[in-house]
Amino acid sequence: MDTAVEVRELVIRRGGREVLHGISAQIQRGVITGLLGPSGSGKTTMMRAIVGVQVVRSGRVTVLGRPAGSPALRRTIGYLTQSPSVYADLTVRENVRYFASLYGIASDDADQTIRDVGLADQARQLVGTLSGGQHSRASLACALVSRPELLVLDEPTVGQDPVLRDELWKRFRQLADDGATLLVSSHVMDEANRCDRLLLIREGEIIADDTPAAVKAAAGTDDLDQAFLTLVRNRTEEGS
């Protein structure tokens, strides 16, 4: 299997504290990998290291065959930050066109991306006046518009209703089927079930790296929520 991202012995300190303690993982090309873990476990930090905006203390991150943060990678990566990053004083369409024109992408494609995230009716609305869920979808559209090879999405479905979540996941599946690699962080276990692979992270360490089915089998349960709790507890007991 082809590897899109390889993380080796990654150690990261933030604010004087070690946040990731030498984690290693491989993310396969063309599939959806879910990054799951409790709040504060280091998901955003790991994503930042992969897109190359995080100072790395030691270890190595290789993205599509190049060191993370290489200039050549820029056009191939789409990064959705956890908090929306769009101009609140421009409309949805102006924002998406802004990012589209950074890559010389036609405005038709921008409009298509707006439809893809379900914002066609809000295209002419100022982002500052959108609802919370619409706001983060506007941000998602800006990450998707360049059709990147690697999509790093930090909690893309937070604040979305079940119908929209379902549509967005179908969209992610479509992108993966078309060859894109997706790394998606989430707290929601029913979303974890829709991933091809799962990376479970807890207090800066990876506690599982497998398919959802294998994670459930290892924990001896059919329920991912339960499996996650079991794995987290097992590790705690091992540690103590």
Binding site: I77, T81, Y87, A88, L90, R97, Y98, S101, G104
Partner: protein, 279 residues
Amino acid sequence: MIGSVRAELLRLTRWPVTWVVTGVWLALNVMFGYVFDLLGYRDAVSSGDRRLAAELLAQISPAGVPATMTQGLPLFGGALVLVLAAVSTGNGYGWNTWKTVFTQGPPRLAAFGGTMAALAVVLVGIVVLSLVVDLAASAVVMTAESQALTWPTIGELAEGVGGALLIAGMWAAAGAMLGIVAKGPALSAGLGLIWVLVVENLLRGVSGLLGALEPVTDYLPGTAAGSLAAAIGGVTGSESGGAPGVVTILTGPSAATLLTGYAVVFMLVAGFLMARRDA
């Protein structure tokens, strides 16, 4: 970089702030350059003050446009473009958008260059627009007063446009730098305004009493801007009651050189910080 220029231009032209700043500047220009001068001229005519009437008429005449369009720039116009530039670079930090641009967009310096180029295009637009509006306002007023139209020479026009661009460009560079230094629109615009409108004037006032400060205040950005505007408007040291911020401290050429120097330094600092610091 072409992509960045296009993207930033799209952002600036779709942005209400750009149009508000342009509109306010044009309105101030017409108000102080034509409406008030016209009222003053009519007063002077009816009270029989020929000398004042002639002076005001010269200012309203199309030949006076290069002077009129630069007189307001050292202070009010400068403050306006400074705010525009500060908000345009600062906003990218405020809304987290530089972060996204820097991770998946063009190289940082291209993004910075694109922003500066887009700002330059907007400034050229504003200056050309104020030239057209001023010429039109002048022609309308002069015709209404049944006065002959005397037009500025091409050389005078070029001087006015060039001077206006240099003054506005220097203040815009200062604003862009402040927006990047403060990583946000609010603080940078506020600090810039206080500098342009308050601090420089206070310093120049103090240096009148305290000779030791003069070598500093004679070379402040606002001093250079005001001196260039005075040189273009033919304002001399003995005249009083000119536009605020217009001063006769430096000669035209040395003011222009100093303005260029400030603009270059501000842009170098801004580009360096944008490239080196976390978004």
